[in-house]
Amino acid sequence: MDSAILVSILLSIVSASTPLLLAATGELVTERSGLLNLGVEGMMLVGSVVGFAVTYSTGSALLGVVAAALGGAAMALVFSFLTLTLLANQVATGLALTIFGIGLAAMMGAGFVGHPVPKLPGLHIPGLSELPVVGPLLFGQDALVYFSFLALFGTTWFLFHTHGGLVLRAVGDSHDAAHAIGYPVIRIRYAAALFGGAMSGLAGAYLSLSYTPMWAEDMTAGRGWIALALVVFATWRPGRLLLGAYLFGGITILQFHVQTLGIGVPAQLVSMLPYLATIVVLCIISTDRGRIRLNAPACLGRPFHAAG
């Protein structure tokens, strides 16, 4: 295998993993605050169509990316209002949000199908970007790829090294105790949900502006659900999220290459690989009883109603 093929495989793994990493990082923060938002898929789709439409209309990728984040956050705001202010059931609301997002995105995107936009520009550092293998991988990616790493490290630092992060984890662990001490549980959850929505929006924008720089209906193809599973897979720890996103992205890409290499395995079996891998890893994690229990936010999915 020559290095050109290797580089192209590695590049495609990065492309497949980035949207998962972005969306899962956002959802991890949301879930750490105790809010279970199953609407990631819907928020991603709205982000992808808004990002595409704004970029197509204005010609500015930057505006498009910002709009995508706002679009995802707006969806999250709907979710938060329903679940936090009106105390609707989080699971049902999240599912509804996904269905709503699919329809809304299809409607908004109807006029944009088939129009291409320029792909997000990659970084170019003369000298470094031309290095074999390392050049395109480390110094030739687009801004959202770098941002996905930055966001992950930023999130880790925020959650485990700042007081704000401690408060967020505390709210997810026991909203009653946090309320008793005097932290604004509802406002903190709103903020966490909006961050999660914005990150999902960015994940969507990555799909429609970089992965395949065009808009197609239902173009997230279940990536929102995979991002949700990744958060459990990572047992709510950001470090494992990075591992999980790239493992999953890697297996997704591997299946294409196994198919093109003509190995005698039925294509259907190969397509199952990513999902099979998820199940196997989830089983392995669950055998360690302490781990899930210690890391899962105890108030995940539970409505908070302040007494008095």
Binding site: L166, V167, R169, A170, D173, S174, A180, I181, G182, L294
Partner: protein, 529 residues
């Protein structure tokens, strides 16, 4: 008033410039609070002076918690006025209360299970400058006040007693002007409690006011200068507890005469042995749990064995092994009426005539979201035949739950009420009653009266004595030494996962037991003064 004059020691007491002995630190006038369906507080007046230790007494549901939550800014009063040093204040949230210098040691709901001790304490400190170098300050305060605490452990793995130490340390770190303490000593050894009292007296001498909630009347009489007694949301009396006797105070609280629990029997040392535990050794499943070493004891028919000890010394592990939630290594380690049951689970042990009351009533002793009838079914279906061929017999279940409610005076709307709608004391009465009415041959109870008011505790104690009179063998695992001394025929102490040999209660002094609790076996040595 007390405070200001008593400050004269060499250890440079903190003299607060604006503390003024001419006016109360905090005064409440006509405080009222109504919840849907109940008046929690009505026209409550209360003055707290700098340097005084003031007791707040009352049954569960008397409105104590509501009142302290109002003072701490968690709840807003519907009526009345709060004055802080003479100026009216509106406490919208606990952060404002803390900014004034009000600290509170909660009894429940204020620890984060997944976080470490240090993180938990950091969450209670609003001012970022207080959070600097927190770890060392925790260790320093904990040492100074004799509250051993490892700042890096996760709360999840800590016992009730250790958790309460976190609360106390959290408050002390904030250098409070008014400290509210909700039952702080229930999990301390007598020596540790004495040490805490010394701490509180020192704080009071420094000018801090202390509002002290406790059900232990002797303790209040030893510590407090004034007591305000609440009943059904109103102040029924304010008195000096040092000159009133405990019985009178208790009767003011419950508004009725309090019957002392009475034995109807003498322990019979020839009676048949019903429960035998022999050389039981079991490593804990918990990451920071206590391993049990060579536990040996037996209990005869009609006998009550008390097991004392400081929280976190193996009580929860012992309870789990006795109830069958955790199995012993060999079947003959535990025998019930001669039958080896060490490898049998809880249901099998119930079939052999044993019943259990775990320490934690919420989500262990009862399912909070289920009705009382359903909770009664869950533990009693076997011994009370509440199911027929796998189908729940709803009538019998309702009757059984109703029997528990009426026999044990559980205050609830009926057997169809959800368990979570009951106050702690009422739910505890229900759980104890549910097990006792299954007429067990062996009953193992952990912390039967934890967080339960005096009236309910007396009822539970009497019920346990009555059960023993019917020939049941009872094991009580408790941190409340007074309770053990009153009920037990023999008493043993668990420390570091080892059980001291049981001794007849008349032959052993409280001081001796306190020393055993402090760890004859070497671990968790209490800071001897």
């Amino acid at each position: 008033m007390g405070g200001a004059g008593g400050v004269g020691s060499a250890e440079s007491p903190v003299v607060r410039s604006d503390s003024n002995a001419d006016q109360p630190l905090l005064s409440l006038r006509g405080i009222g609070k109504t919840f849907p369906g109940c008046i929690a507080n009505e026209a409550i007046d209360l003055d707290l002076w700098p340097g005084e230790i003031h007791a707040l007494l009352g049954e569960n549901g008397a409105g104590k918690s509501t009142l302290v939550k109002i003072i701490y800014g968690v709840l807003k009063p519907d009526a009345g006025e709060i004055r802080w040093q003479g100026r009216p204040v509106a406490l919208a949230n606990p952060a404002q209360a803390r900014a004034l210098g009000i600290g509170m040691v909660f009894q429940h709901f204020s620890l984060f299970e997944a976080l470490t001790v240090t993180e938990n304490i950091a969450l209670g400190l609003t001012d970022p400058s207080q959070r600097r170098d927190l770890r060392h300050r925790i260790v320093a305060i904990a040492d100074a006040y004799g509250l051993p605490l490892d700042p890096d452990r996760v709360v999840h793995d800590l016992s009730v007693g250790e958790r309460q130490r976190i609360e106390i340390v959290r408050c002390l770190l904030q250098d409070p002007r008014l400290l509210i303490m909700d039952e702080p000593t229930s999990v301390l050894t007598p020596q540790e409690a004495e040490r805490l009292f010394a701490t509180l007296r020192r704080l009071a001498a420094e000018g801090c006011a202390i509002l002290y909630i406790s059900h232990k009347l002797d303790e209040i009489r030893a510590l407090c200068e004034r007591a305000t007694i609440l009943r059904q949301g109103r102040v029924v009396a304010t008195c000096d507890p040092r000159i009133e006797d405990s019985r009178y105070l208790a009767e003011l609280m419950i508004g009725a005469e309090l019957a002392a629990p009475s034995h109807g029997r003498r322990p019979d040392f020839d009676a048949a042995t019903r429960l035998v535990v022999a050389h039981l050794t079991r490593a804990s499943d918990q990451q920071f749990g206590t391993d049990l070493h060579d536990i040996t004891f037996d209990v005869r028919a009609g006998e009550i064995l008390g097991i004392g000890g400081i929280a976190g010394n193996g009580q929860s592990e012992l309870m789990a092994v006795l109830s069958g939630e955790v199995l012993a290594d060999r079947s003959e380690r535990i025998t019930l009426d001669g039958q080896p049951v060490g490898r049998v689970g809880p249901d099998g042990r119930r079939a052999c005539g044993a019943c259990f009351v775990p320490e934690e009533r919420n989500d262990h002793g009862a399912v909070r979201e289920m009705t009382l009838a359903e909770n009664a079914f869950l533990s009693g279906h076997r011994r009370r035949n509440l199911a027929r061929r796998g189908i729940i017999d709803r009538l019998r279940t309702l009757l059984f739950a109703g029997e528990v409610v009426s026999d044990f005076d559980v205050r609830t709307s009926g057997p169809k009420a959800e368990a979570r709608s009951l106050s702690g004391g009422n739910l505890q009465k229900f759980i104890v009653g549910r097990e006792i009415l299954q007429r067990p041959g062996v009953l193992v109870v952990a912390q039967p009266t934890w967080g339960v008011d005096a009236g309910a505790a007396a009822d539970i104690h009497q019920a346990l004595l009555n059960l023993a009179d019917t020939g049941a063998a009872i094991v009580i695992i408790s941190q409340d030494l007074d309770e053990l001394m009153m009920l037990s025929d023999r008493i043993a102490v668990i420390a570091g996962g080892r059980l001291s040999p049981p001794r007849p209660v008349g032959e052993v002094s409280v001081a001796e037991i306190g020393l055993l609790m402090g760890g004859v076996h070497g671990s968790r040595v209490a800071h001897a003064s």
